[in-house]
C-alpha cells in the first residue's frame, strides 16, 4: 500500500499535464477546423476569362499617322500606334514602373506615362523617367482593313 501511495503522486501530475495537452490539442484542432475553410474561402475562385492571345485592335483607317489607340488584349490594356512615318506598332500599355496605362502623345511623338512622367520611344525603349524596363512589343498584322495584334 505504501508503495502505491508513493507511486501515485507523480502519476497525478502526469494526468493533469496530459489533460492540459489534450485540451490545448483539442483547441488547436478546433481552430484549424475553423481556419481551414475560412482561409480557403478568402482565396478568390478562378474565373474563366476569354484570354485570346490575338485581337482586332482597330480599323486601319481609324489610326492616323502620329496617333495611338488603347485596346484590351487578354484582359490587359495594350496600345497600337502609327508612327509619323506611317508604320503600325503595338505594345503593352502597362507601364513597367507602377503599372499605370500609358498613352501616345502626338506632341512628343512618342509614348508617355502620365503617372510619374515616364517616356518611351516608338520601339518601347525608355527615354526618360522612372520606368525600369522597356514596353513589350506585340506583333501587328493588317488583314484587309483590320489591324490584328498578337501577343508573342
Amino acid at each position: 500500500m505504501d508503495v502505491d501511495e508513493v507511486g501515485e503522486r507523480p502519476q497525478r501530475i502526469r494526468r493533469r499535464t496530459f489533460l492540459d495537452y489534450s485540451f490545448t490539442a483539442a483547441l488547436a484542432a478546433l481552430a484549424g477546423a475553423v481556419l481551414y475553410p475560412v482561409v480557403n474561402f478568402l482565396i478568390p475562385p478562378k474565373t474563366k476569362e476569354v484570354t485570346s492571345q490575338s485581337v482586332v485592335a482597330a480599323k486601319s483607317a481609324a489610326i492616323a499617322a502620329n496617333s495611338g489607340k488603347i485596346f484590351a488584349l487578354a484582359g490587359k490594356p495594350a496600345i497600337v500606334l502609327r508612327t509619323p512615318d506611317g508604320e503600325l506598332r503595338a505594345f503593352t500599355a502597362v507601364c513597367t514602373h507602377l503599372a499605370c496605362t500609358v498613352q501616345y502623345r502626338s506632341d512628343f511623338q512618342h509614348i508617355w506615362c502620365a503617372c510619374h512622367d515616364g517616356h518611351y520611344d516608338l520601339h518601347g525603349q525608355v527615354l526618360a523617367g522612372p520606368p525600369p524596363r522597356p514596353l513589350i512589343e506585340y506583333k501587328v498584322t493588317v488583314k484587309g482593313d483590320d489591324v490584328i495584334v498578337t501577343k508573342a
Partner: protein, 351 residues
C-alpha cells in the same frame, strides 16, 4: 518593469481581473437559463464573422445579387458552408433570442433594478428580427422577393405612418433594385451599428447588476463565473459550433430561383417560422372588423402587444416587490400558447 506592469499601468486591466474574480453565478434548478444569453451571443458572433466573409463576394444589385450568391455556393471554396452556416445560425439566433426572452420573462429577471436590461433586450429582439427580414431578401430569389412584398405590405398597414413606412422601406412604391440597396445597407451597416451599441449597453448592464436570482426558487449556492461558468459556457459554444457545421453541411440552405418581378407569385409562399404566427393570425382575421380593415386592426394589436412586451417590468408591480404573481405567468403562457398554436396552424393548413 515587465510587460504586464507596463500594460496594466495603461490599461488598468487589474480592475477587470478583480471584477472577474468576484463575479458569481447563482446555482439553482433553473440555472440552465443562464446559458440562453451566451448562446444568443454565440450565434451573433457567428453571424458577424460569416457575414463579413460573405461580403467579400456578395453584390447588391438586382442583376448580380442572385448570381453572386450562386458563385459563392458553387465556385468559392467552402462558400456553400459559409453561406449555409450564416442562414442556419441566423435562424439559431432568432430561436436563442426567443428562448432568452422566455427565460428572462418567467424568471422575472426584468424586475428592479434590471428594467433597462429588459428594454434593451426587447430592442435587441426587434433588431434581430429586422436583421432576419432584411437578410432574407439579399439572395434576390423568388421566395424572398414575394416574402418581402408581403412583409412590407403588412408594414404599410400600420396606422398613420404605414404608407410612409412602406415607401421608406422599399425605396419607392415597389420592390425594386432600390429596395435591395436599402435592405443591403440596413443589413450590413445600420443594424450592425445599432446592435453594437445596444448589445454593448445590454452586456454592460448585465455586468453591473450580475445574474438575476429567481424569486420563488431556492438558490442553493453560487459558482465562480471565471473559470467554472465560462468554461461550461465555452463547452456549449463548441457543441453549438459542431451542430451548426453538421446541419449546414447535411441540410444546405437552398438558393431557389432568381426573382422575376413579372412572374406570378409561387404557391406555398410563407414567411420564415418566426413570423408565421403573425402571418397566420392576420390571415384568420375577417376582412372587416367594426367597420375597420381587418389587417389594420391585426397589425395595430400586434404593435400594442409589442409595447406591452417592452413595458413588462413596469406593468408587473408584484415583481418589483419581489413577489412572483401567477397571473403574470399565466399571461405569459397564454401569449406563448397563442404563438405556438398559430405557428402550428400555419404549418398544418399549408400555404
Amino acid at each position: 518593469m515587465g510587460v504586464r506592469d507596463w500594460l496594466n499601468e495603461r490599461l488598468r486591466y487589474e480592475a477587470a481581473e478583480t471584477f472577474l474574480e468576484k463575479k458569481e453565478v447563482p446555482v439553482h434548478r433553473y440555472a440552465v437559463s443562464y446559458y440562453t444569453g451566451g448562446i444568443t451571443l454565440f450565434f451573433f458572433l457567428i453571424q458577424v464573422f460569416t457575414g463579413l466573409l460573405l461580403l467579400m463576394y456578395y453584390r447588391p444589385t438586382s442583376d448580380a445579387a442572385f448570381e453572386s450568391v450562386r458563385l459563392i455556393i458553387s465556385k468559392v471554396r467552402f462558400g456553400w458552408l459559409i453561406r449555409s452556416v450564416h442562414v442556419w445560425s441566423g435562424n439559431g439566433m432568432v430561436a436563442a433570442v426567443i428562448l432568452h426572452l422566455l427565460a428572462t420573462f418567467f424568471g422575472r429577471a426584468y424586475r428592479k433594478p434590471r428594467e433597462l436590461t429588459w428594454i434593451s433586450g426587447v430592442a435587441l429582439l426587434a433588431i434581430t428580427l429586422a436583421f432576419a427580414f432584411t437578410g432574407y431578401l439579399l439572395p434576390w430569389n423568388t421566395l424572398a422577393y414575394f416574402a418581402t412584398q408581403v412583409g412590407t405590405e403588412i408594414a404599410g398597414d400600420v396606422p398613420l405612418v404605414g404608407k410612409a413606412l412602406l415607401v421608406l422601406l422599399r425605396g419607392g412604391e415597389d420592390i425594386t433594385e432600390a429596395t435591395l440597396s436599402r435592405f443591403f445597407g440596413i443589413h450590413v451597416a445600420i443594424l450592425p451599428a445599432l446592435i453594437t451599441l445596444l448589445l454593448g449597453l445590454h452586456l454592460l448592464l448585465v455586468q453591473i447588476h450580475g445574474m438575476s436570482r429567481p424569486i420563488s426558487v431556492r438558490v442553493t449556492g453560487s459558482e465562480r463565473f471565471f473559470p467554472e461558468f465560462m468554461l461550461r459556457d465555452f463547452i456549449v459554444w463548441v457543441a453549438l459550433l459542431g451542430g451548426l457545421a453538421v446541419i449546414a453541411t447535411l441540410v444546405p440552405w437552398p438558393l431557389g430561383e432568381k426573382a422575376d418581378p413579372l412572374a406570378p407569385a409561387p404557391a406555398g409562399l410563407r414567411p420564415e417560422w418566426y413570423f408565421l404566427f403573425m402571418f397566420q393570425a392576420l390571415r384568420m382575421l375577417p376582412a372587416r372588423i367594426l367597420g375597420l380593415e381587418g389587417e389594420m386592426v391585426g397589425v395595430t394589436l400586434f404593435a400594442i402587444a409589442g409595447v406591452v412586451l417592452l413595458l413588462v417590468p413596469f406593468l408587473d408591480r408584484w415583481a418589483a416587490r419581489e413577489r412572483s404573481h401567477p397571473l403574470v405567468s399565466i399571461l405569459g403562457v397564454v401569449a406563448l400558447a397563442f404563438a405556438v398554436v398559430m405557428t402550428a396552424l400555419a404549418f398544418l393548413t399549408g400555404l
